[in-house]
């Protein structure tokens, strides 16, 4: 497997090899790169940002309050697209709880 480290603009290509159950990393130029690769191999996570419809037909920006597993991103999107929220909302208000381990929260105050 090959990864690109995003911790700095060098963008080192890091290769991961399985050796007898252990993972070995090659190509990183500093410890941050190794740490990045280790996390990416185990369970890469991302914050999902999107919008939610309001009852009046507008959209408001939302995000997951913590990173979710990369493999769950589309499922999180499905949930987000099924929600309608009612105004007013404040930044940080929970729009929907416990979606694949995170809460969907409002990223804007809208009256």
């Amino acid at each position: 497997m090959e990864l690109t480290c995003v911790e700095c603009p060098m963008g080192c290509k890091i290769t991961v090899e399985e050796k007898g159950g252990n993972k070995e990393f090659f190509g990183y130029s500093c410890p941050r790169g190794k740490l990045y690769a280790e996390n990416e191999v185990v369970d890469p996570k991302r914050v999902v940002t999107s919008t939610v419809k309001t009852a009046s037909g507008e959209v408001i920006p939302v995000k997951t309050d913590k990173p979710v597993s990369k493999k769950d991103m589309y499922k999180v999107m499905q949930v987000i697209n099924s929600i309608t929220c009612t105004l007013p909302v404040k930044t940080g208000d929970i729009i929907k709880e416990n979606v694949y381990g995170a809460n969907i929260i409002s990223a804007k105050t809208v009256k």
Binding site: V6, S50, P61, K108
Partner: protein
């Protein structure tokens, strides 16, 4: 005619931070004029996260970052008008604007801050052959459709240009169910941040074609497909390398240009390198009492730098209102090897604070040294693992070095290519 101490044109992150800084430096009679329905500028449509890492040590979305500054403006009771478009600014600092309540009106300021942001380069500037069907948008326009108006401009997409907005939209539209077939970049390297390449393209297996461009857009009423081709070292398409994609949408993400029409009406000197105003370190332009900051001055990739620059402009405008004209002895900053622009272009040797010089390199340079020289003397030298055109660099000139400067300051980046 109403008059104010300071009039700020544009209520994006630059205008907002400038207003707060001006106020906190003791000049409170401020008016912000904003064309859109709400304050916050381009950040309102940038719903992705990654803003504010430097400033707040948090990864905020655009609206969250903007809200912190909008709250700051409201808390201070700083006056602002939205849905108000500025039409012209005169060199004697009269600002003419239009809105539906007042029609056309003119206000005058002791100082003016220009913070109008930038706009996207259009397809017209690019010269792609083929018809002009519907379904061709700039990436920023598509971003507005999806994130603010709440509808998808298409289902099957090819993106030209690997600027950050294009990359962000590749992910956004994919998550919303569209198929993004390809991102084509005419240069051998992407102009976007590494993080965006990985998290917007690699995460979704969207291919990035470097050294490629769109040679033809097909379709009569609506886009039905595009042809892309590889380019040679002179960026001319190579015959025989054409590949066809069926698609209903083409997005352009080919760069931003500062929006300086108003700067021209008031006679501000513009730089051919940045396409923004030529400024002193306090962000004053060639017109006394007129300041500039944010993307109207230089296209920033990080909003944190926008806020920092705007705070300099806001403070300087406050000092100008209180103390009048600045006493100066000026040296210029000049681009040396591999540097495409420097900002500020002019530095006052009598400045009372450290001066951060922003610059960009014109190609990728690894294991390099940033050198700041003046009159044969090195005033700053620092090693960098890498400099890339897509990321703005900085060099800090300490205040105590300023008075000893004689002649122009050259910024260069030397290293293994």
């Amino acid at each position: 005619m109403n008059s104010y101490d300071v009039i700020i044109i544009g209520g994006g992150p630059a205008g907002l931070a400038a207003a707060i800084s001006c106020y906190d430096n003791g000049v409170k009679d401020i008016l912000i004029l904003e064309r859109e329905k709400e304050l916050g500028g381009i950040l309102n449509q940038c719903i992705h996260n990654g803003f504010g890492l430097a400033r707040f040590k948090e990864s905020l979305t655009g609206p969250e970052y903007a809200e912190r500054f909008i709250d700051g403006v409201i808390k201070r009771n700083i006056k602002y008008l939205t849905e108000t478009t500025v039409l012209s600014v005169s060199s004697d600092k009269k600002v003419t604007a239009i809105n539906s309540d007042n029609g056309v009106f003119t206000v005058s300021g002791k100082a003016i801050i220009l913070s109008m942001g930038c706009r996207e380069r259009s397809r017209g500037a690019l010269n792609v052959a083929g018809t002009r069907p519907a379904g061709v948008y700039s990436a920023g326009t598509a971003q507005k459709y999806v994130n603010i108006l709440g509808y998808m401009p298409g289902k099957s997409v090819v993106i030209l240009g690997s600027g950050d907005i294009g990359l962000i939209m590749a992910r956004r539209m994919t998550l919303e169910g569209a198929k993004v077939h390809a991102v084509c970049e005419i240069m051998p390297h992407s102009s976007g941040l590494k993080r965006n390449i990985v998290q917007c393209l690699d995460d979704f297996d969207i291919p990035l074609y470097l050294n490629h461009t769109i040679v033809k857009i097909e379709g009569d009423k609506r886009v039905t497909g595009v042809v892309i081709a590889k380019v040679d070292e002179n960026r001319k398409p190579i015959k025989g390398t054409e590949v066809h994609f069926d698609c209903d949408t083409v997005l352009f993400s080919v760069g931003l240009i500062p929006e300086n029409e108003l700067s021209k009406t008031c006679g501000v000197e513009l730089s051919p390198k940045t396409k923004g105003a030529v400024v002193y370190e306090n962000r004053e332009t060639s017109v006394e009492g007129v300041f500039a900051c944010g993307n109207v001055l230089q296209v920033h990739d990080l909003v944190d730098f926008v806020s920092e620059e705007a705070e300099i402009a806001g403070k300087s405008a406050a000092l100008f209102v209180k103390n009048g004209k600045v006493d100066r002895e000026v040296v210029n900053t000049i681009c040396g090897d591999n540097v495409s622009y420097t900002l500020p272009q002019r530095i006052n040797k009598k400045a009372t604070e450290n001066v951060k010089v922003f610059f960009r390199v014109n190609k990728v340079i690894k294991n390099c040294t940033v050198l700041v020289e003046c009159g044969g003397k090195i005033i700053l030298q620092k090693k960098k693992k890498i400099c890339v055109p897509g990321e703005m660099e900085t060099a800090l000139i300490l205040q105590d070095k300023l008075s000893g400067l004689s002649g122009d300051i050259t910024v260069s980046v030397k290293g293994e290519l």
